[in-house]
């Protein structure tokens, strides 16, 4: 077949793909008979009401000297690892606020960090395009430099996010500016699977975030600059299981809903959205217009233990809305509470038992928030 015939086939195929995508979009719209907010209102669900002192900042973790970009809790033992523009990873005891480790990184431009399930290693990645693994039992030299125990190299772009597979210390997933996600074997340092890429069906823009299902670790969600989120099955890397459309800007953050069958997203278009994994339905849009009418990009999200609350950090001063996911309303702004952050909240994380939220900010601090009120009979 000649090149010109190929180009003609390419044009016809592109036309067919666009037409089918449009048809799919129309079919899906017809199935959206309600959203979560309308359904819950019809069911007479009571709104969540916070008293002025119900949610409070219980701890401020001081120590970073630059913007905090990422944080992660251990599944147990209440430790937190954070990554900062100051080029360090700090491991904190969340209960005492003490620092147990301060790791100077070989590349200061770190964007993400993660704790292994057993809490004995931490992973980080950033502009150097590699994911570095550090063992917390290694001895640091006088500069605080801990030797890298493993380097996962192979991405052709920055590493934007990393997460260990739940209950598997030997596997983690990274997302990258090279438009792919990779499942790594940490023991060997080799790629197990690559999701997406030039000639595979996947994202067509930088991938910014991943979230692995706690109930089914073979599934994970990725969010991308191509405005979509994708569901992947690690057992079949050739193409995404499902692609979720709706956002009108980069999808900066994705997080599984506690039941494992839904997930949330946050985007540059200023909205958070809730999707159903199995059907692909967009169940709810969470959007609050701001005073100047501009859309504030969503930088990070986290769900409470029941999923009733969605915490969302935005790219402005210190806004962190707490959404009632059922009624689709903002019930609190952590930025308006006493002792709130003084700058953008860049990362959020809920503790394993759901009783504390940690926020990291460009003000170089981390804060821990917990419920401090009474539970009363009304």
């Amino acid at each position: 077949m000649s090149v010109s015939e190929l180009k003609e086939r390419h044009a016809v195929a592109t036309e067919t793909v666009n037409s089918l995508r449009d048809k799919l979009r129309q079919r899906r719209l017809q199935l959206l008979d309600t959203d979560v907010a309308k359904y819950s209102a019809a069911q007479g669900r009571s709104p969540v009401k916070f008293g002025a002192t119900d949610l409070v900042c219980c701890r401020t973790l001081l120590g970073h000297t630059g913007k905090v970009y990422s944080l992660d809790w251990t599944p147990e033992r209440n430790r937190i690892v954070s990554a900062s523009q100051d080029g360090r990873l700090i491991v904190w005891n969340a209960l005492t606020s003490q620092k147990t480790h301060a790791i100077k990184l070989p590349c200061a431009w770190v964007m993400t960090c993660a704790f292994s399930p057993n809490g004995q290693t931490v992973a980080c990645g950033g502009l150097d395009s590699v994911c570095s693994i550090f063992s917390l039992s290694s001895t640091a030299d006088k500069d605080g430099t801990v030797p890298v125990s493993r380097t996962l190299s192979g991405h052709r772009g920055y590493v934007s996010c990393c997460q260990y597979v739940p209950n598997e210390d030997a596997h983690l997933i990274t997302s990258s500016g090279d438009q792919t996600c990779v499942l790594w074997d940490v023991t060997t340092g080799l790629k197990t699977s690559v999701f997406g890429g030039e000639f595979q069906s996947g994202h067509t823009g930088d991938v910014l975030s991943v979230s692995i299902s706690g109930s089914n670790p073979n599934w994970f969600i990725s969010g991308s600059c191509d405005t979509t989120a994708c569901l992947w099955d690690t057992r079949a890397a050739s193409r995404a299981v499902r692609t979720f459309h709706g956002h009108e800007g980069d999808v900066n953050t994705v997080k599984f809903f506690p039941d494992g069958y839904r997930f949330g997203t946050g985007s540059d278009d200023g909205t958070c959205r809730l999707y159903d994994l199995r059907t692909g339905h967009q169940l709810q849009v969470y959007h609050q217009a701001h005073g100047d009418g501009e859309n504030l990009p969503v930088t990070s999200i986290a769900f409470s233990a029941s999923g009733r609350l969605l915490f969302a950090g935005y790219a402005n001063n210190n806004t962190c809305y707490v959404w009632d996911t059922l009624l689709g309303e903002v019930v609190l702004d952590l930025g308006e509470l006493q002792d709130s952050h003084k700058n953008r909240i860049s990362c959020l994380g809920m503790s394993a038992d759901g009783s504390a939220l940690c926020t990291g900010s460009w003000d170089s601090n981390l804060k821990i928030w917990a419920f401090g009120g009474h539970r009363r009979v009304t």
Binding site: L32, L127, G177, S306, G372
Partner: protein
């Protein structure tokens, strides 16, 4: 060497040979090389077509899958039932009066001074927390683009609907509530970007004003997050103070 048809001085020289004029030979004008097949380009194009045809198959399968799907109300019910059935330590629940801070409760201690913050697990604590913003009055008229929403002035944008005229700067209205104007096909970008350039909201990706014309060229130290959004500059010989201007 076998002769090929080539032009030497504008004449074809074959094996039989031709008598050439002895004098005033024009200078050689070599032809362009023969058009060899661009195998690499053809293979890439074939791979792209194959990908698209595979995508067509996947989309057709997806359309069949969607035909048998339950409506979103069923998913909403499942989600709502899950939320209601599970307890949540972060939510003020309606239960018998008892303190319930789980393992965080020992962090709660009475206010030691006016300046200190405290966790109000105890009734004697008084935390000076600001009240959430709300309008105090029942608003009957809204200034500018704000609308009434019950007793508060909504932040929703209520600008008129007609299509936007061509704009040189990005409109401030968003379209999520369906009440605002939008410029989906218009390029509303800042034509030249500087160090602190903001992200253009241009949907027309073909427009030239969606790219940043950096005054300082990126010297490929790193690929910046969201490269299309800002002009990153870095001289690899020196330590970068801020290699990626927007994301960092």
């Amino acid at each position: 060497m076998a002769s090929t048809s080539c032009s030497v001085g504008g004449e074809v020289a074959g094996e039989t040979g031709l008598a050439l004029a002895k004098s005033s030979l024009p200078p050689p004008r070599p032809k362009s090389p023969p058009p060899y097949p661009d195998l690499y380009g053809k293979r890439r194009e074939a791979a792209r077509v194959q990908m698209l045809e595979r995508e067509i198959g996947f989309l057709e399968g997806e359309i069949k899958f969607v035909e048998g799907l339950q409506p979103s109300s069923r998913c909403c019910k499942e989600l709502s039932d899950f939320v209601v059935a599970n307890s949540d330590p972060m939510i003020p629940a309606q239960r018998k009066s008892r303190r319930h801070c789980r393992f965080w409760k020992w962090l709660c201690f009475p206010c030691l001074s006016v300046a200190s913050f405290c966790c109000c697990c105890r009734p004697e604590c008084s935390c000076h927390l600001r009240k959430p913003k709300c309008c105090n009055s029942t608003c009957c008229s809204c200034v500018g683009s704000k609308c009434c929403n019950g007793s508060c002035c909504s932040n929703s944008c209520c600008c008129p609907k007609p299509s936007c005229p061509k704009c040189l700067s990005c409109p401030s209205c968003s379209c999520f509530l369906g009440c605002c104007c939008s410029c989906p096909d218009l390029c509303c970008c800042i034509p030249t970007c500087f160090r602190s350039c903001s992200r253009p909201s241009c949907l027309n990706k073909k427009s030239s004003c969606c790219s940043c014309n950096c005054k300082i060229k990126w010297s490929s130290c790193f690929k910046c997050p969201k490269l299309r959004l800002c002009c990153c500059f870095c001289n690899c010989k020196n330590t970068c103070s801020n290699p990626c201007c927007l994301a960092f």
